[in-house]
Symmetry: D2
Subunit: 489 residues, 4 copies
């Protein structure tokens, strides 16, 4: 309540009460002032009221919420449903303008401030989690894959004539799609085995560059966060990019949650070249699917070109969700989440090792992968289809996200046939199951997951192969089974 308003209440409550109210008010007002001044994450979590207060204050700066506003155009922020207005905090003009998804809108001052502010808070987050030298970022209201695509489209203007994207293979459909939809041609670099790990084949990258000519390479498209036994791509890619003057776009999909991924990135930018790194909002910030963040260690205008390649205004939903979440977390919350994730990773790894031993399996040694881990599935008798049953058994027991990978899978995407699809490799020697320790996971979830895998494996071994005498109806499950082994992240 504005100080002057409170003074009007003098005939309702005594002056001493008013003074006290002013004091309470000032504390809250101070938090808002600090946020807008510093444009960094608050140290401590903001409570829900304060967050909603800020959003409501911003909304009233948008023309559609201004008293007496009349709309003479075709896009005036009119909202039919009260439910819709409410759930969007009346911030309805979206973000950006037709030419630039980060541009401010004269009709929507509040939405514009919100979007800018959210960008600053997100940048602060990125620095806190490890990319201390990050200089700028933009929030794009599209999936990670689409955002990678947008980066590639933006590069077209810088790399006239270039048509190849060098891409160390990762069996994640939308990564591949992002290149295919862009109209460029991916050069797929098969991964190299290094113990159990699958790692970047640097030599093959260099050879590819030599083969097609650096000037014909749009960019190298590398990956940090990925499913074991693949591990984050090698630092050397950045050096190669620097040496050959090739843009380097990093798919850091869920890497913000891992200090290892972030330090790798930070290091890569220091010794080599990183033009932009792209991350998913939902996977890192625990918000609904819908947005991605493109960040950069430079202020070289590339992010503006990416933003300027988005044709039209975008949904403000990712911005709203992200802002709420970042204020709700505060620096303290971010650090706690990261610490808990790391602890869960170690706990889950140790527990998985125990059941691996018990089941005569082996937890693959993938020390470079800080999030995902894989356990061999060699003790289950029968054909691959018997092994993949484990996936659907887990799914119907409400364990989601565990992936069973068998060697035989072939998959054709946009005309390219991938052998051993799901394993990031043409000939990985093991069938395996992956589990991940992701941000926000609870310790109790680790326990249930491990116990359930153990139990399902034991059951599965008891069933004669190909009998399908599982408790759950196989026909009904066929779809899901297909889906859960489809690796369509």
């Amino acid at each position: 309540m504005e100080a002057s308003h409170l003074e009007k209440c003098l005939n309702l409550v005594p002056q001493s009460y008013i003074s006290q109210g002013q004091q309470f008010r000032a504390s809250r007002s101070n938090l808002v002032r600090i946020l807008l001044e510093k444009q960094k994450l608050p140290e401590e979590s903001w409570n829900d009221e304060l967050i909603e207060f800020l959003l409501s204050e911003l909304a009233q700066l948008d023309s559609n919420n201004a008293l007496g506003n009349c709309g003479a155009g075709e896009r005036e922020g009119r909202v039919y449903s009260g439910l819709v207005a409410r759930r969007n905090y009346r911030l309805v003009h979206g973000v950006g303008r037709s030419g630039d998804v980060t541009a401010v809108q004269p009709k929507a001052v509040g939405s514009s401030i919100l979007n800018q502010l959210c960008t600053k808070l997100t940048l602060d987050f990125i620095r806190i989690v490890g990319a201390r030298n990050a200089k700028s970022c933009i929030i794009v209201p599209m999936a990670t894959g689409m955002t990678l695509l947008l980066c590639f489209l933006a590069l077209r203007k810088r790399r006239r004539g270039a048509k190849f994207i060098i891409w160390p293979r990762i069996d994640q459909k939308s990564c591949f799609k992002s290149m295919m939809s862009s109209g460029f041609e991916p050069i797929i670099i098969e991964n190299q085995s290094d113990g159990d790990e699958l790692r970047t084949n640097v030599t093959e990258i260099m050879e590819s560059i030599k083969r097609v000519g650096a000037e014909n390479v749009v960019c190298i498209h590398s990956t940090t966060s990925c499913f074991a036994p693949r591990v984050p791509d090698r630092l050397e890619i950045a050096t190669i990019c620097k040496t050959h003057n090739i843009p380097h776009i990093v798919n850091n999909a869920y890497g913000l949650q891992s200090s290892k991924c972030m330090h790798l990135l930070q290091q890569a930018a220091r010794v080599g070249r990183v033009d932009a790194f792209v991350q998913s909002c939902d996977k890192n910030f625990m918000v609904p699917v819908g947005g991605a963040v493109v960040a950069s260690f430079h202020d070289d205008g590339f992010l503006s070109e990416v933003a300027g390649s988005y044709a039209g205004r975008g949904s403000a939903a990712p911005t709203i969700d992200l802002t709420i979440t970042l204020l709700d977390m505060g620096v303290a919350g971010v650090k706690m989440l990261l610490r808990q994730r790391k602890e869960n990773y170690e706990y889950l790894r140790d527990e998985m090792r125990k059941i691996a031993e018990k089941q005569n399996e082996r937890l693959l040694e993938t020390p470079h992968n800080p999030i995902s881990m894989a356990m061999t599935l060699s003790s289950i008798p029968g054909r691959d289809s018997d092994i993949t049953k484990l996936g659907s058994m887990l799914f119907t027991r409400r364990i989601t996200g565990a992936r069973v990978v068998v060697r035989s899978t072939e998959k054709s995407i946009e005309g390219h046939v991938f052998t051993g699809y799901g394993s990031h490799s043409n000939h990985y020697p093991h069938c395996y199951i992956t589990v991940a320790a992701a941000i926000g996971m609870k310790r109790s979830e680790c326990d249930v997951i491990v116990k359930c895998i153990d139990k399902c494996m034991t059951s599965l071994k008891k069933i004669s192969p190909h009998k399908g005498s599982l408790s759950c109806n196989n026909d009904e499950l066929s779809h899901i089974e297909d889906d859960v082994t489809n690796h369509d992240v």
Copy 2:
């Protein structure tokens, strides 16, 4: 409340009460049944409770809301903030899967049903407003411009080697951007004057095709809804497309609100070829910015190819907002909105004519434009910069969306220089102001707009040119002025 649950309350209230409760329950349950069975807009508006009930029921089918669910993957629908969970109705998995933005997700049965259902309701809407033969549609969680871009990218696979998009000029930045970002080369067809109207130059289109060869044309990209004095593109484009076997993508940005635009489309599909027509969610359905609808008169798989070009999952926000809104409208609401818009258009046109006469101006005769209208600005003394002041004067008086267009404007977008930018023409003979009668506009808004334009023009004429003695501070306004005459829709 499930019938069996209510029976448990027999020791709390008498049987007769239970029976009555069952009856009330059954009425509501029946509405839900009909919706899911028919998958069409309800005749009458649903109330907010029922809408939220449906969303909550759907949300509980998603794995992240299932009791006892454990997440072992990297994307498990975890939401940090209660506010975020709540405002998204706990529908957090987004829409689509990595390869296809319309695909169903095994982890998110409720979200998947919602998205499919929303598509059906939207299709019903499209048919109701005039495209009776529409066969399918998809909802894309991106701006109209980005969605056009997605269509072009999808066409790449069908039109290997083609690189030109024929585009009757419309001075709307994101339309142009959508082509530039796609990497194709637009062939800009200058509009033809026809009285006051600017219309498609069919001859030039035909010549362009002859010049580059039909097989090298990715598509013709035409436009229906636009600012006067431009009018919807001519039907002949569809015939040309059919004849030359060229895809035809129509930008129907805010055309769903006009039965004229819709009948034009319907007619075009009947006599010629229309591969897809794209429309903005916010401009037609009165929802927040963020989504677009691609619709087709065929079941020929093109929409699937468009959906399959979206790399990754998308935000469910457009789907949620659209579903709520469509249920809130019902068929009755849709029809009322369309009728009111038409009446407002006629009223606004008549009122604008009156002040035009009073101000010694002329309302341009653009009978083919059913939404927007323009009035000349020839009586304001001084240079163009004096005329554009009208725009900022209106803006500061809370009239948003009126556009002042002067002849002198040159604008360079992505390297192309447009003469007379904003007027869709190199040499339109008048300066003018446009106003539109858009869906959801209130009659009272028409009155205020007309009165305010009248008043501001009168004020403006009194000021000596170039003195800037307007009541509002010119420096402060310079930004906005620039913005509001920027025509960046």
Copy 3:
């Protein structure tokens, strides 16, 4: 957003945007300022955002919401459930202090302001609807009946030794209960027939006073709003009270919605004595059940004594609901509601007359009752139990609130036996059905009600008496039937 906060955003959006935002902000701020300054109903309805903004601003003045607050007492406004906190706008300290339900609380400055403000707005409402000379009012978080009881308890201190309450009979259980629970003894004044109307028997009141002695009368407890054929009590009661120096408490339960009731009250206060008039919040303001308003034409301290008789703090729910509603209505809304109600009354009366004629019945002539009306039920064959079936038939057809009154009913309440209970009279000559035109009723409801009564009567006449061959199961309905003819308002 505070002006100084907005200035911090200068690096996010241009100065011109900030200025415009400030302007929007100022408009809204101005509405709040006027409200707090004038403490009267706003002329125009406030929108939901503004209402919630005010509540949120007030809530932050309460200690439980103050940052860094520590509670060392036993009542610190802690709330366990986030849902509960949210739905109560975090205003959890209730209203009043242990000794006075209107007192301000040092721990809850915001709640205290809200309560005081609500009182002022309510007083303004009361004046607007006709009691122009009303001087003060209090909001009591209890039912009308309990609030009447509180008035009687407060009178005890002023009327030591007195033990009778003179009460013109109204067959409304809680009115009678309010007296019985207070420990005083009601002297029931049987109503007089005047044509079809039942009116105050002034002579009997005077005789009663003479009989028990004015000094032994705690108060006269009269009624305005009531079911036809009873009509508001006569003005003369106020004169008698003045003459004999007897307090006068008026049960104006739902009389605020009728200008006739309000003018009667205003007149009574002018020519005689009215100590307080009590009204229900839900029935007059369209809020949930739970509160009542005690108002007075004097500033004589009686209301403070009533407030001071409430032992403990009360729920703030009625205050919150009432404040929201009054701001949502505004003066314009109040006037519209009253006008519509009056028009509905006339419409309903005319339509009921038509079906009365059709059904060979008669609409009772009760011109002094401005809200309720009654139609005879003499053409339905059979016993009383056959006639009362009409009530349950209507109820199961979702017509609620219509009352069927038969002559035979005897009812014992707290030991007193009322003959002809429901008809306010020992020997009213007709069976009848009552319907009312209450505030907020829609025209379409009138139509359905009339049509349904007509139809049910026709059905009922076709059935042989005592056969019970109605479409609805009689056993199941027995409870409801009993309830709906129970007249337990």
Copy 4:
């Protein structure tokens, strides 16, 4: 989603998805079934969605929410404001009927079920926290004081002619008010010193009974939870009541949070007589102020008489808040809260002892008081007014609820003058400050409170008496100071 509804979605998603959705649905449905069947607190906390789902399901059973309902009465549950409807979950008919605040309403089946269910859950809570033999309870939508008053009014009918209430003194205004407003005459029993404790003077009670005659005693009105150094009343009262056949009403205001208080009650009922025990909703259940619970160890009809003394319908707000909270807590939550409170009590006591020693004060030995504790204030120089400054100092430092009690206070309430008001005694030998460990308190609050008391005392001792040179403005604080030492709980 009803099973049959989900089946309609077969053309939208595959059968396997439908099956999985059914399974998720069934889990949730099962929780609701168990709740309605057992009518006990769930073992584990319900999440917000499920709670809101239940409330929404119940709301749809109320006639005001039924599709096609028409209201022909004067109270039809119409709600003007959407905000109000929403925040009340559309449960607007309140609780009870005119004659009984626990009665079910035919128009409001859902509200009626909710109220009954809430009663059952509350009874379960009462048993869990220690009163294992409790047989019934009712929820009254009024403050504790008003609810005590209602009990006294109900006793009037059982104790015709009786007029005294025997009341061991507790300096809590609303307790005293509850008796004064009822019209009965309190016989105040001064407490006895027992070490530092103030305890029931049983002899004086017995003498009072002898003096006025047992048949003239309405009831004994004893207290459990209270501020130290007073402690819960002695068990013997129950025995006396049994022996003399005198009703016994226990004010157990915030005693549900203490197993000691509850066992005392349980014991009292076993060896003697307890007619009803009354507790505050806000103080025990962490809900907003507004309701109280009357509970009994018998099914003897007394609670019905209390409910039947409430004239009119009551607010459903306490019921709604309580139901939400109880489901949110679950048995697990209740037990955790009680354990934490007990631990906090011990921690706070130990910490207070430390600063007492440091400040040359003494923590009073009051082992029978399980919630509140008191520390002497003898080392602060100057007059009483200097000592009470401590209270306002704490208050302005956001420590609320600490009470400073000095010997000199006289207070007149309703004509009775209390000496040493606030200390429950005419001549308690110490000035002191009380703090309490109440349910929901956080450990961090204990720390801040103790530190702040220590610091303020140190400051206070440095100031010369009567100079008022405190940092905070004394004039401004005078009101608050008065309020916070007023002991108006």
